[in-house]
Symmetry: C2
Subunit: 390 residues, 2 copies
């Protein structure tokens, strides 16, 4: 019996027991990354044959670039300086081949690239992770857009107890940037974790969060449309036409109507918020200005308000000053603008605020450090969501 | 104005416009993988400094191993033989460093490793992808287990029109294997796509699919519990105790009760199915035998029925023959057993069927080629789900 058991274990080791037989699960003695007690991170890569190993991430210290040094055992390593609490994403470059950290099982897609991820705790990153609190439900579901005659996918967060409760909830509509899609805020933006944790602490009102897809020519994110893998996520230098032909902004009430009909919402302006990052900030600007009676809270996060790239003669984009004046007259609870002081859209956002000043539209401005990064967008959500529906 | 635009484009190129400034999105002229017209796949990796590049995947030809050859331009390439239609997962080994395909943006996690993925069309893989059909909703939500006093996460598929309809639906409970979790059937098992497509063709009844987490010591998958990234997914040689202490199986009615209270189900034995792969097949065996009035349809997919690794004196596992006799007497619509003819659990499944023969429990046996692979489990789901609730 013991012999039988031993031979089973040996057989199992060779095939990866109860796992795929054909694709080896390589085990390694290397553990990477490791967050040290001083909040530095150590990266290790086993690559005995490599000539060069570099890590590149979205932390600020040393511009997010670390050159690993080779140890005697063929294991390369590098330790960052102490880092502020954050969720960091990074990739590893081994002799010019860029990939994820081979021993880190946690990853996320940002546009067309897969990144490894790691948290430095004891600060804002605590809100991006799971605490021992009640959890909401995350769903992907589909609405029909008459404007483009397509079923289109949405990601929806409903707060803890939503299903059991008789009450109705306010709604935050949260828009992604160029190259993103309806999965971006959920994965990179850590929406479920941020909302669960803020609601548990009583810092945010329980709310529904709706994350639509801002590319009006597509039904859903890459891999989730009938084009399947032939629709590849790509970061282009200019915003694609399908993000700025005005169809998405014009048809936005379709999404609001769908959400109000499907979910237990409070269908009132002062119980609706709209916010977006980068291109989604541009969408937010024009949607909220075009429909001034729809949203009581507006958030522009590093908004893509470089209008030289947009056909400003389209009805949705034209007469912005007039629309903003109108929106100011219609009133709202909060117009919140946030930008990083090294963002390449910093001056565009300054210019927009001058324009708002001229037409008398009141806003609250929050300036952070750093640039056009998810690090900032998560922090903006953390701040903005606490100001809503109170 | 033109000068301004040009300078914007140049600036944008250098920072990845409207994307993260700090983490470069490297673009490459290489496209990989490419599915050729004869259903072979060509893999290409740009690695001018590498000495060796190998691809390892879960296709059968050449044992899923391909040695890439270096071209003059530093681009390595390899083309498989023509492959049957499937979703294939693979990894690339560059000089001993194993990672995903650097230019393939599509990946999935299997236990503790990230794999690149690709489809060969015109066969079963068509069912694993998105067609132009109505889509159901996928959710992750939480139930409370009194047995282990934890909130635990479930993945739930509800069929198209579920939300609009007044009718109630049958439920398939679908269990993962050792090292898997409540995300495995959704991601690797392509449940939403298989169900959407079969329902659209009228080949499967509209049904709810519930995918629980079979590790009774954990609330959810790695990264989704309050242990966060310190709970790493791992494939071990033996099934961990928390998968086979009987708590999950004993407490399974908690999940059924939760689903019946939350969703529009038909709470009847002949409208409930239970199936599982590998360790989930073992769970299915014991849950359905312990609660013979709960499930009318039972599916064992490459079931982990090597009982030498389990404490068979625990009440949930003891007297299996008596329980099976009892289950036979209680009756059911279908008891379906599937296994690959090179699966390392093949003989264990044969032994189980002999045991069932002795106690008079009737089953239908489906034998496929190949081994302990998602390739088989997706195909078993495709077949099994068409037999349910008719």
């Amino acid at each position: 019996m013991k012999t039988l058991l031993v031979s089973i274990v040996v057989a199992a080791s060779s095939v990866g027991m109860l796992a795929q037989q054909n694709v080896g699960f390589k085990s390694s003695s290397v553990v990477s990354p490791i967050v040290n007690s001083d909040n530095s991170i150590t990266f290790q890569v086993e690559a005995p044959k490599a000539k060069s190993v570099i890590v590149k991430g979205d932390w600020e210290a040393e511009e997010g670039i670390g050159t690993l040094k080779k140890g005697k055992d063929g294991i390369w390593s590098y330790t960052t300086p102490a880092l502020p609490s954050e969720m960091y994403t990074y990739r590893v470059n081994v002799d010019g081949v860029i990939g994820i950290d081979p021993t880190n099982p946690f990853s996320c897609r940002d546009v067309g690239s897969i990144f490894s991820l790691i948290y430095v705790n004891n600060g804002c990153a605590d809100y991006y992770q799971v605490k021992d609190v009640p959890h909401g439900t995350m769903s992907t579901t589909w609405y029909h857009s008459n404007e483009v005659n397509l079923d289109r996918r949405l990601t929806i967060y409903t707060p803890p107890c939503y299903e059991k409760s008789d009450r109705s909830y306010p709604v935050l509509y949260l828009l992604h940037g160029s190259g993103g899609d309806e999965t971006a805020w959920a994965e990179l933006g850590r929406v479920a974790r941020i909302m669960d944790n803020l609601i548990a602490e009583g810092k945010a009102e329980p709310m529904i969060v709706v994350m639509p897809n801002g590319n009006s020519s597509k039904q859903a994110s890459p891999g989730e449309t009938s084009e399947n893998l032939s629709y590849k996520p790509l970061m282009t230098n200019m915003i694609p036409d399908s993000y700025k032909n005005g169809k998405y902004e014009k048809a936005f009430p379709e999404i609001v109507n769908f959400v109000d009909s499907r979910y237990k919402t409070i269908p009132a302006k002062d119980k609706r918020a709209l916010a977006g990052l980068s291109m989604g900030g541009m969408h937010t600007l024009f949607i909220s200005a075009t429909y001034p009676d729809m949203f009581g809270y507006i958030g522009l996060f590093s908004a893509g308000v470089n209008f030289s790239t947009v056909d400003m003669t389209l009805p949705i984009y034209s007469d912005l000053d007039g629309k903003l004046a109108n929106q100011s007259k219609a009133g709202y609870q909060l117009y919140w603008i946030a930008c990083g002081n090294t963002d390449f859209l910093y001056q565009n956002n300054k210019d927009l605020m001058s324009r708002m000043d001229k037409v008398g539209l009141k806003y609250t401005y929050h300036e952070s450090t750093r640039g056009h990064l998810w690090v900032n967008w998560r922090q903006y959500l953390l701040e903005f969501s606490q100001k809503l529906f109170k």
